[in-house]
Assembly symmetry: D2
Homo-oligomer: 453 residues x 4
């Protein structure tokens, strides 16, 4: 609502914002009204001529919006002034038809169904971007199956991993999000239609038939009953978006850490005017990471709001419903923006593999201590190997020497291992466990999922 | 963490709290350690005797907990002091076996898998209560298909509905929650096992085989890779719990409104010492509603925390992970408590059908204005009916008379409708639309879902 | 960011939204740039002619905004493309002066200080509305010191109170908010100025003098050091706004409950097109209450976001800072809107005192049970009075009779109290304790506060 | 509520947890009851003997807690079973006195005032820790006024700063928190006393006198009226705690980044069993930082909950009030824990100044590019200096050479600057602007504040 079109490409998604702009909102409600008239005419509830007259006016560019916002403020929602204006427009053409505008419906029917239609358009876009991101991550995981990287726990060097494994971890989460969204669609994309109190009483016994036909017109599911104050569908969508931004935030956090001057292993794609500084020429600012982290910072509060808003009163909510109007679009826009930016960055990610390899040496072999202990265990006996390596580590730290060199000086070692054997012990590529198998599993699961209907 | 055992039955669930109490937490980790040793012994990774010796000590009642909390504070988690104590205990019996405690695993493997095991126990309880609630709501919806009730929008009388429709709306949401939890289980109930950096490097090439066997031992799914810093599974569970408390909050809000002194249509079950007041003998305090609304107030913030906590660093999170340890149990406990209390209230709900019916008369017929207009339209023409009823309403309000009586005085009406016809027009049971059909749809969908695997 | 101008008057405040619109944001930053140049020229840091040339271009209507949003997305903030465009404009007039645009400053200096300037304008508006609300509440509390009302606890009738006491409670909270905002101003309205890393290094030893002069130019306080990543000031403002919407939400909740069809004690002011329904002529929808409750539902999540965003990295935040740009304006706009709407409603509130009085009789005297017990205690002895009234209450409930009549039938009572005495016992105006004194205390404290500097 | 005593020293504060444990909660309410009886006896409202008899039993160790939790669940709060048990105990000693237990009070009076008393104890502890942290930070800022450090923006090297400046920034925020808490105390530490509906009706005209005396007994302020459903005081406290954890989270984030293996500039104090790993001997895990970041992750959601809970109904809240009971203690405990841990770490912080200095060289002089440009401007003219340095930077990057060396090769430079002059240009200690002045300002302001009453 704090409209900043200038910040939109940075902190949101322009395309999705268009869907939720006022015009899009009104048109989605008009689409509901036109489909309602068509459904009712098809069932003989209203005259066919009325439906045609109504449909002809259900275009946002035919509305007179003067005073609309103030009327909405007085009425408490957008549907009341919309229906009033639509009725007036229809009446200009066909006085009788005007009586049948919005026939049997309540404001919330138009508003909720309109929002569902908008959400469908926006979720199509989001799922498209999620797929693009998954594809880019899969390419990265595949290409870097064996690209050596420091595994870091507590922000400290732990053991060697591969960059592919890191990417596969991100991918694995993204694939779960795709799975969740697929499962959500049939629950979410349903008609809202219940009339003033949810009984469709104004339509007598034909309420359900109209509902079924209207759902068909809009290609929405037909719910078992109206859900004016059961808002779990919208809150669930919000939660899914929150989960997605959480994963995107994790990726952005990782990338921004890898981009640190002292680490320098990964970089957002460079382009003119992007993340640089003329007075600080060495900077490669993680501009996208910042924007994505901003989204991940904002999303949880918005999700919480949607959940808090679920506590709606009786047959029409007081405030909770109104809160959704701002929060759900906001969350869609920021998620879409974060997704697009992350997909762009992943697709163009620059990696410095030499630096990755060099950073593995920063601890002068200590990062291989566990590996060396395991390997020496076979030759020396488990317990002796442990004590020996522990002592060597202490010495390496105290003397600022490489652990390999400290070990090489030990007669127990020298007697058993020549230089080549020692080198191999300190080669991190031999201490990757089943990293590659895990990457393959993620990639295979993804292909399996793609084949499912 | 702010432990109040005295508030637990009011604002939480004692049974679920027991699952997450310290003993439960440690035992779940010990179950992981025992199963790990068994899996490794089965594959020849460690000696079978070691596995047996380890398993024998994996019981929380055999641990010495002196100084445990302080050790955990220094180490940064519970697994480090646990493994240390377990190792010492095993060493007392079998010095060699002690070397194989926690073999190839990292602290987070034990902590996360332990938590997954606890969550499974707790979610079983929650799903059981959700089913109980659904059954009670279905009974209510069935029994009150035709129990007349004021439909209220914006907290104002709108149109007649039935109590069964209201209950069916609640039920419909609860059934969606059951559906969501079923879909969540295979995603959530998976092993965590990756070793220090997620590669299972300490186990060489046998890492995956151990993982598969370990998952089998614990009856958990085997994920494609370790998910130490991909926390969408836990955040998704949190979100589902948030959705559930949202629905419970909505039910509680409705019930508390119906229990108002001025409305008096529904009451929480009475029992000694429950919601009464000796000095205010007319009170029937909605004690359970308050507790459930408290849960619905607290859950969104906890869900938001879990989502914010998803942004975890590299291969081990710094703070985000730690936040989960408190927040997820808290959310399970409060959701379970709210569920149990709601199920109890719904199962024992007292309704005052006479009062419901009487309240339908509070507007002196105005609540039937729409119905009367629709009905008179056939006789008088749509437009004339509208004007006539509108004028009659204004007069009824101004003169504090019943709309039926105002209409009866009108010659246009008197000429066409006798008293019996007029009475029928004002009978709300004839203006319920497809309410009953909708209830039946919800009940049928539920039975269909129950038949599915 | 999800810009809806149509929902703005309903769910926000148009005037405050204008302050935070893109134009306002850019102009505030330009004001910073102009003042910076002036301060630097005054101290001989840059040539006076440069300052004049820069000031001449520091007008948003002179900027070319084509491509601005995309440039901002690449740069990561609005200041970089703004300074670039400003520099180009200045260069067209005075090539040498262009070198001194933004001299010694960093992007965040302009962005933060600009935001502080916007916040000051907006907070002026908010404090004005808060005062208007306080005045209206004081008038209400004064006018209704003795207007009888049911006091309701747990949504149940408890004891008699007065409407003035309820209004005084609201007022008391509003006055605390005013006090908090006064205390906040000197902390919040300070300059941000530190240069690239907070040391003002580019200005050598004159950094502090420039800062002091710049602060003076903008009528802002001079902080002890730059606060690029210490964001407690902004988060504190957010918290204050959250507290305000919390109080407004409480007022709205109360009013919406009082407006219920069954209670009908208070009403939002009526006007054409406001909260009515042609087909449901008895409705008086609490339209403003819904909008205010929506604000109270949204604010907590936004406050939480500002607090989560406080964890900013080193000398420039990554995401946390960016999140503030959207969230803080949003929160200001919604708080201002809720305030304005509440002030309007309170100023025009319609009360039905007869209904209030009638509702006091709904429990047929039971609401006076405590009062009667206390009063009879003097005559009968405390314990006997208690037992006697308790038994009478049970009988009144069972027989649907008025407690007064039940008591009148008791010989113990009849012997001691005649009808007039009994009537007086059941007169709630004699059981208001110190309600009026409390109201007077609140009003007096308010006048005392107004007199303070 | 999810009680984990084992996690308490890591993720909370044991001392503050004790204050909020059940015993502490009950005793605080009993303190209210004893003080109430004393105040009433002093004013002749109840017999002095009754007050003495009541006071004698107001000790938690004299209560029979069997069944207490279940009674509380039925009653909806802790006060009802507490008063019942207290009354029974008193009756055993003095049947008449038992009638005067809790005289004129309502449950919420005891619960809220009891909580205020607990909060006062806990806030004393928190303010003590905040002072200890401020002292440690002041010592750090003083000691490291000139300790060179890389200033990092966007996680990239920006310009040189000093460690003292970073510490002063943290300190500045902590001092603002101390200021805020001082201002909060008189608003927060007030009596709650209003009787069943806030009018103190049961005490007739003596209500206010009793309230004043009771406030005096408990050394609390006397509010202008009861605030049963105006909860801004508690929410404000929560907000203050959220602000504090935000600042602590910022410090923890900074420290954890400085502790990274690749940076290694600062370390949490070492001790046995703390943050190390036997198999990864190079690790210095930021254990405290993780715990503090966990607090900073959890606090915002809890603050949001307190704000959402402010929307309380009429004269007694339904759910919002109940939510406070868990959330406020939780927030106090985690804030206190994070504070204590941060103060410990800051007091024992290990710095590697050599590493700090070495890291300043990582960009091979590029970090000094701005400084060099400014300095050369005097000799070469501003514009020429800019172009020359920019070109030299590009070359230094391309050729992996130090910027100083690239410049030394340039004839324009060599002609004007000898090696010593060039060295000085690249000495970061000469490019610190007013960092030291700023540190002194923060330290001076702190001393000024300490002198104020």
């Amino acid at each position: 609502m704090a409209a900043s079109s200038l910040l939109l490409p940075l902190l949101g998604c322009t395309d999705v914002a268009v869907i939720f702009a006022d015009d899009g909102t009104l048109q989605a409600m008009l689409d509901f009204e036109a489909a309602l008239a068509a459904a009712e005419a098809g069932l003989g509830v209203i005259p066919p001529t009325a439906a045609a007259a109504i449909a002809a006016e259900c275009r946002v560019d035919r509305l007179d919006l003067a005073g609309f916002a103030d009327d909405a403020a007085r009425a408490g929602n957008l549907a009341i002034p919309l229906v009033k204006r639509l009725t007036a427009r229809v009446a200009e053409q066909d006085r009788e038809a005007a009586r049948f505008v919005h026939w049997g419906a309540t404001s919330q029917d138009a508003i909720d169904t309109g929002l569902v239609l908008q959400l469908r358009s926006a979720l199509d876009a989001i799922e498209g971007e999620l797929t693009r991101l998954a594809d880019a991550l899969a390419a990265l995981a595949t290409a870097h199956k064996r690209t050596m990287l420091v595994g870091r726990t507590w922000l400290q060097h732990a053991l060697p991993i591969t960059f592919g494994l890191k990417a596969a971890g991100w991918l694995d989460a993204v694939e779960r999000h795709r799975q969740r969204l697929r499962a959500l669609r049939p629950r979410l994309f349903v008609l809202q239609f219940g009339g003033a109190a949810g009984t469709l009483a104004a339509l007598g016994e034909r309420g359900l038939a109209v509902a079924a036909s209207l759902a068909g017109e809009l290609e929405l599911g037909l719910p078992d009953l109206a859900w004016h104050t059961e808002r779990d569908r919208f809150a669930e969508l919000g939660a899914m978006l929150g989960l997605i931004t959480g994963t995107l935030g994790k990726i952005a956090r990782d990338l921004s850490l890898l981009m640190q001057t002292e680490i320098g292993e990964a970089f957002e794609p460079a382009s003119a005017g992007r993340g640089g500084s003329s007075t600080m020429p060495h900077k490669r600012n993680p501009v996208t990471a910042a924007a994505v982290l901003a989204a991940a910072t904002r999303a949880p509060g918005l999700v919480a709001t949607l959940m808090a808003a679920m506590v709606q009163e009786h047959e029409r909510g007081l405030g909770g419903w109104h809160a959704e109007w701002i929060v759900l679009p906001e969350l869609m826009i920021l998620t879409a923006g974060a997704l697009t930016q992350t997909a762009d960055v992943i697709a163009g990610l620059e990696l410095d593999e030499a630096r990755m390899r060099a950073n593995l040496e920063l601890t002068r072999g200590l990062i291989m201590a566990e590996a060396v202990t395991m390997a020496l265990g076979a030759a020396l006996g488990r317990l002796e190997a442990h004590h020996l390596v522990e002592a060597a580590c202490r010495r390496a730290i105290a003397e600022h020497r490489h652990l390999r060199d400290v070990l090489a000086d030990l007669p127990e070692i020298a007697a058993r291992l020549d230089a080549a054997a020692l080198d191999r012990l300190f080669d991190p590529t031999f201490y990757l466990g089943v990293a590659e198998v895990m990457i393959d599993r993620v990639l295979a699961a993804r292909q399996l999922a793609a084949r499912q209907p």
